[in-house]
Amino acid sequence: MGTWLKNMANGIVRANPTFILLLGLCPTLAVSTSIDNAFGMTASVLFVLLAANVIVSALRRWIPNRVRIPTFIVVIATLVTIVDLALKAFVPPLSKSLGMYVPLIVVNCIILGRAEAFASKNTVWQSIADAIGMSIGFGAAIVLVSFFRQVLGSGSLDVFNVRLFSVPGLADNPASIFLLPMGAFFVLGVLLAFFRWMGVSDCE
């Protein structure tokens, strides 16, 4: 159980996929315009990563080494198709606002990276820990980025149609540049520098 928790915690801080490894940036930047989108993307990634890690680690003895990458890709692509269709059927508005970034989870380097670096070498049980930790790390990052973008860009914070707070002054004149694509780059750049300043990650 000790190593299980260690493997899980690894993905949250020390090997955070977004802030430390700089992996899977496309969805982090693209769908972080609102917290709702961020949660939707996190849930999708959690499902795909968890299922992919379980399948890959369970089959690791039978997957020939030479064709392992194509095998991983087929497994991941199938899982992503399931998520894409499920979102379309059960939460159409979310599916619409995530758009093509749901099928693009296939090429999210975090998932293929974990299949190759962790799940293909470890037991199913440990791979579950890895998937949960990595997803929490990814989710925390994307929620953090979308928090700043939504608050600065619209002056208020709405989560699932419930208004949590609005910033006086900013709500009337929101800095809407943060909702535009370039706002994502600014927020992520400053957050990365902040984590280095805090000593969470190393400087170059």
Partner: protein, 194 residues
């Protein structure tokens, strides 16, 4: 379909809806390979090549094989497999025919399989309901736009190496800020294509 329409698609994909700056696709190579001008150019050319071939293959595959049999939902699986095999084939062909080109592009080609910009453009071609020629022009425009920002970015980063940047901002953080400013500059192209 007129020539001016094709030109509009090309510039729309290259400048207005730039892959990197407005769609956030292909960020890994954008930050990974933009440290030197020469490698940025090779990477850009490799991406243009793969995007063109991928669009030329996936478009007919989708419209003449998946649609008639009602298999549209399989497109994610099919497209990624097609792109992965295409990249392999292109790599082997270049290796056999042109060793100079292979030495320049070789190490970048395998990376392109997981470049979301390539998979992204094949999805965009389908979602925008482009015809075959339009899809090819869109792929060319997207690739050209990707190469353009990659070149600009690597030029800026070569100069940034000499700049006195606060320690915590060195490397990745400043690269993100620069990308943001670049995106701001590219906003000016917004009114160009309707």
């Amino acid at each position: 379909m007129t020539v001016s329409e094709l030109i509009a698609i090309f510039f729309g994909m290259a400048l207005v809806n730039n892959m990197v700056l407005s769609k956030f696709l292909g960020l890994c190579p954008f930050f990974g390979v933009s440290k030197k001008l020469s490698s940025a150019f090779s990477m850009g050319i490799a991406v243009v090549l793969v995007m063109l071939v991928a669009s030329a293959v996936t478009w007919p595959l989708f419209h003449y094989l998946l649609v008639p049999y009602g298999f549209e939902f399989m497109r994610t699986v099919i497209f990624i497999l097609v792109i992965a095999s295409l990249v392999q084939i292109i790599e082997m062909t270049i290796k056999r025919t042109n060793m100079t080109l292979y030495n320049a592009l070789g190490i970048y080609l395998p990376l392109i399989t997981t470049n979301c910009a390539v998979l992204g453009i094949t999805f965009i071609n389908i979602d925008q309901q482009y015809g075959f020629l339009q899809a090819l022009v869109a792929a060319l425009g997207a690739g050209a736009g990707f190469t353009l920002v990659l070149l600009i970015m690597s030029g800026i980063r070569e100069r940034l190496d000499l700049a006195d940047i606060p320690r915590v901002f060195r490397g990745a953080p400043i690269a993100f800020i620069v990308a943001g400013l670049l995106g701001l500059a590219f906003l000016a192209f917004g009114g160009m294509v309707g």
